[in-house]
Symmetry: D2
Subunit: 332 residues, 4 copies
């Protein structure tokens, strides 16, 4: 039976998510997939790596990510560390001949991301950025309807992605507020997901104009010595023009009270409209100008056995995503 040795770096929220995904993939997708052998887990300090290896079911643990990316029994490297580490880890893993699944955002700057993409092309291994929402069967169904021309020519598109984890003015300052450690603010945490969805639905973005906003200019330092500056954006909004000729807009906020995982979009076509809301992730809203007017309406299509999830068969080129991100950044 074919096997892949899995190495995972990071054991936080996304590290746990990758571990669960690796444990479930073959049982969910079927016996044609290779077995994912949970080989090596990396975190610091070593004690934590040991503990989490036990919890997640990895055979071995390490506190040295360079050892992990070059380990001969590791075939695939999952990178779930803070943003500033993605570039070095991914490049090292790719140069060691590993496949790489790297969490979003790819990197802190466009230059870093382009370099990662170049290294990936040279390595020739399989790579993927953690844009999980483009695997949702509801999203795939939307793509299918659009590609079949069911809503006609796509003319307009809008999207929003909001959470409230930075809404409270009294939350303490963290490194996430620094440009040199976290890079982008809400665009890196949330906005890039939306870009991955929009590009997947409507093709590349050609140009844009944007506005960003820092709502809470400073936050209390955790050590009680005063207040630290917030350097990256709380909200960002952009007017978009797609290469296809469609117009649109996107808006994102990490300070939007009540939003826990809002990631909504709507695609306007000349024959219909498709809408989606992530907080109701199993529902696709579809309106088609078909049949008698009196019977038309938005249809709530619930995901089910007729909307199958498939393993990724085409590689996601990192460059396209990173470029879009960079364009967003420039206009901030």
């Amino acid at each position: 039976m074919a096997e892949l040795g899995i190495g995972l770096i990071g054991t936080g929220f996304m590290g746990k998510t990758h571990a669960l995904a690796w444990r479930a993939a073959r049982a969910v997708m079927g016996g044609d997939l290779p077995e994912a052998r949970l080989e090596l887990l990396c975190d610091t300090p070593h004690d934590r790596a040991d503990d989490m290896a036990g919890q997640f079911g990895f055979a071995r643990a390490t506190d040295d990510w360079r050892a992990l990316v070059s380990d001969p029994r590791v075939d695939v490297v999952s990178i779930t560390t803070p943003n500033g580490l993605h570039h070095d880890m991914a490049c090292a893993a790719l140069k060691a001949g590993k496949h790489v699944w790297c969490e979003k955002p790819m990197a802190l700057t466009l230059g870093e991301a382009e370099e990662m993409a170049e290294v990936a092309r040279a390595a020739g291994t399989v790579t993927m950025v953690g844009y999980n929402y483009i695997r949702n069967p509801a999203f795939r169904h939307a793509q299918k309807l659009i590609s079949e021309g069911r809503i006609g020519r796509v003319v307009h598109v809008r999207g929003w992605v909001d959470e409230d984890y930075q809404a409270d003015p009294d939350l303490p300052w963290t490194w996430r507020a620094r440009l040199d450690e976290a890079g982008l603010g809400t665009l890196g945490d949330l906005g890039c997901h939306l870009v991955s969805l929009m590009v997947g639905l409507c093709g590349p973005i050609e140009s844009l104009v944007a506005d960003t906003q820092i709502i809470h200019q400073t936050r209390p330092l955790p050590d009680g010595t005063g207040r630290g500056a917030v350097e990256n954006e709380d909200t960002a909004t952009a007017l978009l023009r797609f290469a296809s000729g469609a117009h649109g807009s996107l808006s994102t906020s990490r300070s939007a009270w009540g939003r826990k995982n809002r990631l909504d979009w709507e695609v306007h076509g000349t024959k219909g409209m498709i809408c989606f809301a992530q907080e109701r992730m199993n529902e696709l809203q579809v309106y088609l100008n078909e049949g008698p007017k009196a019977e038309q309406g938005f249809r709530t299509v619930l995901s089910g056995p007729d909307h199958r999830m498939r393993p990724a068969t085409q590689r996601l080129t990192p460059i396209s995503a990173s470029s879009s991100m960079a364009r967003v950044r420039r206009c901030g």
Copy 2:
């Protein structure tokens, strides 16, 4: 018993609506209101004016709007004609000392609107533009919550207003597609309602950047002789900055399949969020960062006896609305 003589110009969709409003106002609002005496109805040809006066319950009919605005038994003039006629009718009525209720959009150009506002100031009578949605008890309740500081400082606001009456590419060309007859496209028909709501919630807009789009560049001429050009916008989207410091955005489309009367907005504050959707016009969605986190959620507040509608007590200055409109136009 106090009485007001009502003159109504126009018997289309909005003419009928004004007629119904005049017939119902006192019965709904109470006996303290003056009686609205349906005095004179104007449309062309005279036959139609006669028929509709019968249907709407007006005492007399005319086909001469100049006669109506100067009729001594008319105290208030309701103007519900095509956009290009608003300016002349409103100015004439104001100069004759009448109160004026003029449908939106006020005028074809900012210059016209400013002149109307100047004439209104000189006349000193009561005037109102047809921004009916700002009278909705749900909207009034939102204003109350905001003014009381319940959602904290308003930091971000978004809005959308969409219909699908121009979504079908095969619809014939009409005068509504001409700049010199209809003026603005979706901004005049739909967008100005949204501006009236946003200004009512967040105060004046200070600056903006916008993009517009004509989706269907031509439409078939009704006489079958070819295709006519569409001169005004099908969609418009803008990045907004409010005088208060809040940022935001708005987007409108008259070609959005499935939307029959979408007019949605959301106001983000530092302590909460309020959202509204016109197609569910009796519901206000309110999220407050109050009480235990585990019990927080958007509250669906249904309009009821505790959210009373009140007669307008303050005059809506036409100039503020028209200026906002004009600013939107300039960036098209």
Copy 3:
């Protein structure tokens, strides 16, 4: 021009509603309708009748309903008084040759209702019970879809009608809690609306089994002298079998916190399903087993110009409604 002289008894919530309906009918429905001349308004004391006649626009006022029902200038009598008065007023009006629009519930007992129906048959005038929800264009569209076989054979139906006006245990006792004055509790106030809808969708109910419940057995007397007994039901739930062979159920509560006007139903057919919720009264939910499974879903059909409201053209026989009501009552 044809005219009908209108007499209205009662000036409370429903009295105001009838007044508004009479004022709007012709303007809404068109010039083919006769003009509704607001002739005579009755309430007690006479002062109140005078005041409300002014507010509603009636020509004359009286405090003597017997005078109203026999007034030669009155052609139609609207009855909006407390339930216990419906029988006597309606019978007197019918015997005087008037058309009668009587609010629901028709009467306190089945016997009374059957007598009213008998008198109506003898009079030969037009009569109507105040089941307004069966005039909703969304409901009419549902009826049309069912009658055309779009959802196949109707096999199951469910409905709920809830409000919270008796949910608070501390509300004072009123005459509405007495069987001999108010008759039924939530069944008379709310349940009969649901029966009118179900019968309109699925035909007559053949048999049923029901359960009722008094949640608050006593309420504080308004004069502070103790507590008064609640004699009629707060909730009622029934298993239904329709003459057509369909099964179903209904449930109603006047003590359901948060419900302001919940009146929901769903009709299950062998080819589809239709659902409705009154608090979103312009939306019909329609699921049809048509087309590819992957594209099926509940369609939210918004009421619009393609779902026209029409004036009632067929008489609503009071007996059918009252019998259904009575069957419900017997099993309490």
Copy 4:
């Protein structure tokens, strides 16, 4: 590290679900849980067992369930076979000293279920029936609010559970239509889930009256030789009285077009109301009669970090569930 050897019988939809749950449990819940060692998988024929053991990650495979339940390296037995086999497998596993997780419905008859419960008591091992919905954090939050008195005394409760897997009249006849193989129809497949939720929210059901219905009396035999009789119910509806004094109702259908996993309930209290809909399983709707009337509304509480899922700490006594089920059955 503590370990539990897992034996799984069945590899269909629920078999896969149990396999995934066992693979994920420790990674999700934390390192305090024993490691679940996937020891032995049983299905027929042996080839299929081998294949699925590979896919699910079980060490060994067998086609003999009696060998599995007595295997010394198996500590826990997951039973996911057709209903008619539950009783024998569970009793054999319990007598061999194993812990048992048995899918619902427990058994074909009340007698069988009571015998299983008796054997479980004698064995003293940990047992669980597959009522997974009572583990939903949203449900747990509802239980917490109720137990803390936040909605006051529970007075009324309603529930519905519907799917459409038997809605199509042309679906072929299967063994699921036979009383002696499948037992109950929609009550066994769907209804018992609702009963588990209602009992969890409102305590035991004391008495009920019910009605059942077979919508499609026969279905085409798969071999084309004619039509076979459907012996068990397509819908069931019951009036309920709880031991606490609350009234209520439930209704279930396996022939409800458009419903993919509808499992909705609402609990009416003297101070508030809680509602839930499984198709939006991360949302709880909560209405509390607290604060100003004008600000009250149903709150959509999204499940999140403040509503943690916990491992089951109390044993679910099979008998309580089976008795409720049996009471439902008797009134069919």
